[in-house]
């Protein structure tokens, strides 16, 4: 057997119970006023749920205002893993149950499209573009197939470097002779790999469970393109569409990781984060710097207590290199076999309204709004937090975005590389061999041999 243990906090479970009970019934149906109930699948997140529920409330307000006989109800899936959420919603679609619309990570969109389970939303996309609410190019990317649009962007989320200023300050107070600088927030003049490595080494101390680490950053394929571009290379593929992982920029990036993971031990390994993940350790003041997404802004503002937090650009290989940031755009979808596809589309359009997006972004959830007219609201919501001084840095990342080249095979490539990662981190595989393995696996994926 070997089942999967779900790790949900009591708070999360309680939140889910509330929403699930509300979602029980005959898969939607109509309410007492004759409104068609459209259920919306959402992945459970104690911290994000209020944002998404506020968005649904606002969308329902728009529907009521416009006289639409449609209302949206949340169906929160009891998992905080995108993979498990994906499994559940795709099963639900087959079982003709649960949400007929929902949200999905960009990484999983190609599979959803490929499964032929989700509806063509071109009509909704065209309407949103025609009214000028959205730019035409906002809908491009993984949700497009054969000229049809199967997903609507729910917001974009890019990577930044968060750092605990308090840890820096305390270090500098104790070492006035050799202080460390805060990482640079200038995307055109970001800190270098070497500078970050040296800083991380200095900020690493202790051992065992109480060990403090200088930096946490995932050497995952999803971010490899970003780091490679910051090293002067390409984002996985060159202009001709050829895989270029087995090139110097990638070797350099992974050697940087090797230096910190294996040589300096200034980065936590998977075993260090087995009981408490890296972000939880950062929030607890146990990690000085962490490279993560803007989706963490809400938690960072809420849980870092008295610590001062800063935001910086993603490091680069050499001074002068432009810094890029991996950017994700999650999507809304609708089920192809929904009994009320027309109402689903009306609901989605309401979710894309300024009112709904504003309600979401006011809570710093969902990332950067794709609607231009909502961006300032998102940024001003950050200005009321402890990250107020870093709004420009966060905004700057949007101008340096690099997308993950997701495809139907990308996920399996990513997975096989992740499976091999422990072998590399444990020192049973050289860095060069690991990068070569990444390259070979990607090429196998491209050739349909996985």
């Amino acid at each position: 057997m070997k089942h999967i243990f779900k790790k949900l906090s009591m708070l999360a479970v309680a939140a889910v119970m509330c929403c699930s009970l509300a979602a029980c019934g005959k898969g939607g149906g109509t309410d007492k006023d004759g409104n068609v109930i459209v259920q919306m699948s959402l992945m459970n997140s104690t911290n994000e749920n209020p944002g998404w529920l506020a968005m649904i409330d606002a969308a329902n307000g728009v529907l009521e205002r416009d006289g639409e006989k449609v209302r949206i109800e949340a169906e929160i899936i009891m998992t905080d893993s995108w993979d498990q959420y994906y499994t559940k919603v795709t099963s639900n679609i087959l079982g003709k149950i649960g949400g007929t619309i929902g949200r999905i990570a960009e990484s999983h969109m190609p599979q959803m499209v490929n499964k032929n389970q989700i509806a063509d939303l071109t009509e909704v996309r065209n309407a949103l573009v025609e009214t000028g609410e959205y730019a035409a190019d906002a809908f491009e990317g993984v949700a497009v197939k054969d000229g049809k649009y199967y997903g609507l962007p729910s917001g974009t989320q890019h990577m930044v470097l968060y750092y605990n200023k308090t840890i820096f300050d305390e270090y500098n107070k104790a070492h006035p002779e050799a202080p460390v600088d805060y990482p640079s927030g200038d995307w055109n003049n970001a800190s270098t790999f070497e500078e970050i490595r040296e800083t991380a080494k200095k900020l690493t101390s202790g051992s065992g469970a109480s060990k403090k680490f200088g930096l946490s950053a995932g050497p995952y394929l999803a971010y490899a393109g970003m780091y490679a571009k910051n090293s002067g290379g390409d984002n996985i593929f060159n202009a001709d569409g050829e895989c270029v992982i087995a090139t110097k920029p990638f070797y350099d990036v992974y050697e940087w990781f090797e230096d910190m993971l294996i040589t300096d031990k200034s980065m936590p390994s998977t075993s260090d984060t087995q009981t408490l993940d890296a972000m939880a350790r950062f929030l607890g003041g146990n990690i000085a710097m962490i490279i993560d997404g803007v989706w963490q802004i809400h938690d960072i503002c809420k849980y870092t207590g008295d610590s001062e937090i800063g935001v910086a650009a993603i490091p680069v290989a050499a001074s002068g290199n432009v810094s890029y940031s991996t950017t994700f755009a999650d999507r809304f979808w609708a089920s192809r076999n929904s009994p009320h596809l027309k109402e689903d589309k009306i609901a989605l359009k309401a979710l894309m309204s300024a009112e709904a997006i504003t309600a979401l972004s006011s809570k710093q959830i969902g990332g950067f709004p794709v609607r231009e007219d909502c961006v300032n609201n998102y940024l001003s919501s950050i200005e009321s937090t402890k990250l107020a001084g870093y709004v420009d840095v966060i905004k700057g990342g949007m101008a340096h975005k690099v997308s993950v080249p997701y495809s139907t095979y990308y996920n399996i490539v990513d997975q096989q590389i992740n499976q091999k990662m422990a072998t590399w981190i444990n020192g049973d595989m050289s860095t060069k061999a690991f990068v070569d393995f990444m390259d070979e696996t990607m090429k196998k994926g491209m050739a349909g041999k996985l």
């Binding site: 089942h3 699930s20 019934g25 499994t87 639900n92 599979q111």
Partner: protein
């Protein structure tokens, strides 16, 4: 092998293991009394000891071979990888043999289960849940017997390390001396009883009952329900029947078709079995397409947390593997290894059956590789992994006691199978003589289930049921909580003496029936399960305050051909009280009363109830019987009830909460019991609680289709 065809009723009447399997000694036929025929015709077939041992060795080696070749829980991105490429298959060299070329598992240090013993220079097969309990079962039967008590005592003595349902069973045994089938149930607290353990760990019991598939299913009914319930146990019986039947067959499809009687018509295992045949026909040369489409029929199951352990889809993959394998040992191993989901377990099951069909013969395609990698002309061994040969946590299925052999020769394990087979054979009227076995073979007892359309609420309406004095609705949900399997469940809300029932028009008057159903009530609510004929003659049990799903069984005698069977509220129930139910499964059973210990009205006892029992006539020493005790409990919750035999702890069973107060309601404690002496003093302990105790009856043990 020679085949004799004759009826040997007297020998079979003495069958120790399974009354249901081979009873029917009263000579009842459907024509005479209606109902199911529990007495399949006996054909005596002969097999040499040498042939039996060779086929059993083939079966055990097949288990190892499948496991060492199969891929488990491989993902393709976020999806399970269904239909892996054929070139991923390498006989005896899959991930569990340390080959991580195509799939790198987590914790590789403990994953490799085929390792060289430095002392002998030979590979040893290391323990895994695919077979460690199968092998342990042989020690149980040899040292303790086949009763629930025997299993409990053995597990306690040897301290089983297992996953899922087995791990939970061990916890319940250690904490409460819990007996099967309670150890496998939701009500006792087995969180993972739905999982695969029931069938991956017990199907080779079929090799203890070669040619006697009803004995095999009877053994499984006890052993598998120690670790699980529901469809996992149904599949365990299907596979065990195949292991039993394979000794006298040469075609895998025939074996499957004969064993399929264990899959109740209309049940989801049966639906999936039929679907696999349909898809094989649709995609005769595309295993991936067939498997992918089959997986689209996966159903939700209460508390299932890893879809790749779904017993039904894994069962369908096994059937597909046998179909695409087309009687080839290696092809069957290949398809079962790469089909997907719990592939190492599926392959172990599938290849084990092929090993029996083919025997372990030098001319076979798989012989050389098996011999050179595992068997070594009889020198090959099995290692019960205690973690001493690598650093890091063990996290593997094993038997933990130091008294358990660390290493066993494969031949010695096979010899235990043989020894136990001979014992069971003789107990059931067979003959061991001159190196030959005369086996009273039978077909399987016919399907005696009474499943009707929408018994499982999956039509998402209330069809199949009627109601009165209350509101019956079908509730549909995407997360199981009210529903047990699939997405639908029924809810009856009381107005005044509300009822919801299905009318069965095809019962046999005088015959006994058992309803298995998953139920849940509102807080403080009491409901009854009833069976009523047209004349108003009513039988019932009650349950109360069941605030999360549990299984209830209700046994009744048909007093008419047509009876209403369902749920009801008493006159005292409140308007708005409700009961939720799902998987409403009826079957006809054999229920042979062998002694009435006491006939009394329910009387109140505090903390314990003591009674002296005389062993009924015809019951042998060591034979397991069922002591049925009518009781009323209003404790507010279910709790383990300890059974003492002559002052020593015998085991425990779960006492359900029957009533919301001391006034009304009752159920029956069904205690699997083995007499120690001609007269035993039996004490039922419920310390801290009060219970009413009534009639006590002893029945011969029987087997059920549903658990």
């Amino acid at each position: 092998m020679k085949i004799f065809k004759r009826i040997i009723p007297f020998a079979l009447c003495a069958a120790v293991l399974s009354g249901a399997a081979l009873a029917g000694c009263k000579g009842r036929t459907p024509e005479e009394g209606g109902g199911a025929n529990f007495k399949p015709e006996v054909t005596v077939k002969e097999i040499s000891r040498e042939e039996y041992v060779n086929k059993t060795l083939g079966g055990l080696l097949g288990q190892f071979a499948g496991f060492l070749s199969g891929y488990e829980f491989v993902q393709y991105g976020p999806d399970p990888y269904i239909g892996m490429p054929e070139d991923w298959f390498e006989f005896l060299n899959g991930p569990y043999a340390g080959n991580f070329e195509h799939f790198t598992p987590p914790d590789a240090y403990r994953y490799d289960r085929l390792r060289i013993n430095e002392a002998t220079g030979k590979n040893e097969v290391w323990s895994d849940d695919d077979y460690h309990i199968d092998i342990f079962n042989q020690l149980i039967i040899d040292e303790f017997g086949t009763s629930s008590y025997a299993i409990k005592e053995a597990w306690k003595k040897y301290n089983v390390g297992d996953w899922g349902g087995g791990d939970e069973a061990m916890r319940l045994i250690n904490s409460a001396d819990m007996l099967a089938p309670y150890t496998g149930t939701i009500e006792a607290g087995n969180r993972y009883g739905w999982c695969t353990e029931a069938y991956i760990e017990n199907e080779t019991l079929g090799m203890n009952a070669a040619g006697m598939p009803n004995i095999a299913t009877a053994l499984v009914d006890t052993f598998a329900s120690n670790v699980g319930y529901f469809n996992s146990v149904v599949w365990a019986k299907f596979y065990a029947a195949m292991y039993s039947l394979a000794y006298f067959e040469s075609d895998i499809v025939t074996v499957m078709q004969k064993a399929a009687v264990t899959l109740p018509e209309g049940s989801y295992p049966r639906v999936i079995y039929d679907k696999a045949f349909e898809l094989f026909k649709k995609y005769p040369s595309d295993y991936k397409a067939a498997a992918t489409e089959l997986a689209e029929h996966r159903r939700m199951l209460y508390r299932l947390d890893n879809i790749q352990t779904d017993p039904d889809i894994n069962g369908g993959f096994a059937v597909l593997s046998w179909l695409y394998g087309k009687n080839s040992y290696l092809d069957t191993c290949k398809y079962s290894s790469i089909m997907g989901y719990d592939g190492d377990c599926t392959a172990a099951i599938c290849v084990g059956v092929m090993g029996i069909l083919k025997g372990f013969k030098p001319e076979n395609e798989e012989y050389a590789a098996l011999n050179d990698t595992i068997y070594y002309n009889g020198e090959g061994a099995y290692y019960n992994d205690d973690g001493s040969r690598y650093s890091g946590a063990v996290y593997q299925a094993r038997i933990k006691s130091k008294e358990y052999p660390e290493t066993q020769k494969i031949d010695d394990i096979v010899d235990l199978y043989r020894k136990n087979f001979e014992k069971i054979l003789v107990e059931n009227g067979g003959v061991v003589k001159d190196g030959k076995y005369s086996i009273p073979t039978t077909e399987l007892i016919e399907d005696r289930s009474h499943l009707f359309a929408n018994y499982d609420a999956e039509k998402r309406d209330t069809s199949g049921f009627e109601s009165k004095n209350g509101k019956l609705e079908c509730i549909v949900e995407s997360e199981n909580g009210n529903s047990h399997s699939g997405y639908g469940a029924f809810k009856l809300t009381n107005v005044k003496e509300g009822e919801a029932y299905h009318t069965f028009d095809n019962l046999a008057k005088g015959k006994t029936y058992r309803l298995s159903v998953y139920v849940k009530t509102g807080e403080g609510v009491q409901a009854s399960l009833f069976a009523e004929d047209k004349g108003g003659q009513r039988q019932e049990i009650t349950f109360a305050n069941v605030t999360s799903l549990i299984n209830k069984q209700f046994i009744f005698t048909a007093t008419d051909k047509s009876m209403k069977v369902g749920f009801g509220f008493a006159a005292s129930a409140k308007n708005g009280d409700s009961v939720i139910f799902d998987d409403f499964m009826l079957e006809e059973i054999e229920r042979e009363e062998i002694a009435k210990i006491s006939e009394q009205d329910l009387k109140l006892s505090s903390d314990a109830y003591l009674k002296t029992f005389k062993m009924p006539e015809g019951v042998k020493a060591g034979e397991e019987v069922i002591i049925s005790v009518r009781y009323r409990s209003y404790a507010g919750n279910s709790f383990p009830c300890a059974i003492y035999r002559n002052s020593d702890i015998f085991g425990s069973v779960m006492a359900s909460n029957t009533s919301k107060n001391a006034v009304a309601g009752y159920d029956y404690l069904e205690i699997p019991y083995v007499f120690e002496k001609p007269t035993d003093t039996v004490q039922i302990k419920f310390e801290g609680y009060k219970m009413y105790i009534g009639d006590i009856t002893v029945y011969r043990k029987t087997q059920y289709m549903f658990r």
